[in-house]
């Protein structure tokens, strides 16, 4: 933007007025401490989880042949959840068709 009738150059003024602000030293230190402790906590949680498993369990986890059971269990769980959703939907549909009981606020049905 150019000078407006020699009065002021707004973009220059804005650049001067809105100069970047250096964060206080203590903020940087505080942030780094917080982030390091979060990272350390996450790492500790992971390692304690691994420590809780016996050597045999860890071995078993590494063997791909043992992955079939958890995957099958997850699939079965997913299918069951899907079935529940379908049952719920079909109940709602039948209720909407008039099969459901009327509630005290269903005045227009």
């Amino acid at each position: 933007m150019s000078e407006t009738a020699g009065q002021f150059d707004l973009e220059r003024l804005l650049s001067d007025a809105l100069r970047p602000i250096e964060p206080p030293e203590n903020l940087a230190t505080r942030m780094e401490t917080t982030l390091s402790s979060i990272a350390a906590q996450a790492a500790a949680e992971l390692s304690s989880w691994a420590d809780e498993l016996s050597e045999g369990e860890l071995e078993a986890l590494r063997d791909p042949r043992n992955w079939v059971r958890p995957v099958a269990a997850a699939a079965a769980g997913g299918a069951a959840a899907g079935a529940l959703v379908l049952v719920g939907l079909s109940r709602k549909r039948s209720a909407r068709r008039g099969g459901g009981r009327l509630g005290p606020l269903d005045l227009w049905r």
Binding site: M1, Q7, P23
Partner: protein, 190 residues
């Protein structure tokens, strides 16, 4: 401003696989943009105390979603994403506490003219006026100007931070400058 950092590791290297690598990448991002986030927070909330809290919250939230953001950024700089987090937090800050930004210009020093004290005083007064007029702008216009002038963000970066198109952002900035200019001209006529 932080332009080098924008093209630092996060924009050119494939997403890291290990937690350690991810933490290192986040540390780079944090070091590169701490001043940007703090400056943005400061100009939004108007005081150092709340700006510190807001900056801390913004980085903690960024840390939680960093892996996903890196994956989805597709190599683009993450500064707009960070500023967007700070923007959302600042909006909540006003909504929750029903506050308006304070026109605190303690940290705003006028450009130095060591041999001309009168000009220093005039400069300070002018800057005070700009900050005060800036606070009267609608929030989106004020924010766009903060991003442009305090953080040196490009139109495209501002667009990403505000979730707008490039064209809409260009218009927003143009209107913000025009409104501020008119407001300043009005002051001179007063």
């Amino acid at each position: 401003m932080s332009t080098d950092a924008e093209h630092a590791p996060q924009s050119s290297v494939a997403p890291p696989v290990s937690k350690a690598e991810l933490d290192r990448a986040f540390e780079d991002l944090y070091r590169a943009h701490l001043r940007d986030v703090y400056s943005y927070a400061y100009y939004r909330v108007g005081n150092h105390h709340d700006a510190e809290d807001l900056t801390e919250q913004a980085f903690l939230q960024a840390y939680r979603h960093f892996e996903r953001a890196r994956r989805e950024s597709d190599g683009r700089p993450l500064r707009p994403w960070l500023i967007r987090i700070a923007h959302n937090l600042a909006s909540n800050y006003y909504r929750d506490r029903a506050r308006r930004p304070e026109a605190n210009i303690d940290a705003v020093e006028p450009p130095s003219h060591p041999h001309d004290t009168e000009r220093v005083a005039e400069g300070r007064e002018e800057l005070r006026e700009v900050i005060s007029r800036l606070d009267e702008l609608p929030e989106d216009r004020r924010e766009a100007l903060i991003m442009r002038f305090a953080l040196g963000m490009s139109n495209r970066e501002i667009a990403r931070a505000l979730g707008r198109t490039d064209g809409a952002t260009k218009v927003l900035i143009h209107r913000a400058i025009k409104q501020l200019e008119e407001s300043m001209e009005g002051r001179e006529d007063e």
